[in-house]
Amino acid sequence: MNFAAIPWAKLHGAATHFPIVLSVVAFACDALAAWRWSRPEAHGLRQAGLGAIVLAAAGGVGAVVSGLVLARGELWGDGALGRHHRFVWPAFALVTGAAAWRWAAAGQLTRGRLAAYAVTVLATAGLIAASAYYGGEMLLGQP
């Protein structure tokens, strides 16, 4: 298999959009589910929230793998890459942790726990957005 022939830049661009979008979707679904806890639609919202955060984490894994290949294994770096990584690593730890918690806690959710989780996911979405901004700066910003 020709490792170098894989279009890593395109894969990175594609994979990064899953956590960018789905972390916001996960927050919205679970925040709404917590707000409308006893309403009939809450069950569907919780299901959607779980699916969204699991897919966001899966996309995050793809984004990190392709990103590390693009950065030739650089975990930190200078300039925009350094700023990008400053947000990527906490965001990655949080999104995978949030997905694992949400999946494992699905059967023992309470309104308060779901609300606290939603706040964590909102913070995660903010970190992901910041890392995406600096990722965009590397592509489109001034050299």
Binding site: A57, G60, V61, V64, V65, L68, V69, R72, G73, E74, L75, G77, D78, G79, A80, L81, W89, F92, A93, L94, T96, G97, A98, A99, A100, W101, W103, A104, A105, Q108, L109, T110, P143
Partner: protein, 131 residues
């Protein structure tokens, strides 16, 4: 109220730890592979320039090398002429070294024959003083 169980929290901590450690491990593998296949400078460390090694003498040496090899295109003050301004560079030491060594096709010649690793480290030390 549903009783609190530690399993989800443990799962979350495990997932976070494993994912970040996995990323660090993958980065190590990629760096090792890149060092093996790269024609760039050998990877003695990811940063060519150890801050502890930067001395006024090294910066002076870099300044002299810059005037001899780089000023013709980048200007004596490195503010740019035919080549770009080199103040406040936001690229890694490795990137600078690679550009000096290999040049940029159609834009900048290679200095691989003229400058070895020590020269390049001195030039980078000088360039980092340009704010």
């Amino acid at each position: 109220m549903t009783p609190w169980k530690p399993a989800p929290l443990i799962a979350a901590l495990l997932a976070s730890s494993l994912s970040t450690l996995g990323a660090a491990g993958l980065a190590h593998v990629i760096r090792a592979r890149a060092a093996r296949v790269s024609h760039a400078l050998p990877a003695a460390g990811r940063q060519l320039l150890d801050p502890a090694q930067v001395t006024p003498a090294l910066i002076k040496q870099g300044s002299e090398l810059f005037l001899n090899s780089c000023a013709h295109c980048h200007g004596a003050d490195a503010r740019g002429d035919e080549g770009p301004d080199l103040h406040d560079l936001e690229v890694s030491d490795r990137r600078i070294a690679t550009v000096i060594t290999h040049g940029i096709e159609g834009e900048m010649p290679s200095f691989a024959k003229k400058h070895g690793r020590e020269d390049i480290v001195a030039i980078i030390a000088y360039l980092r003083t340009l704010k």
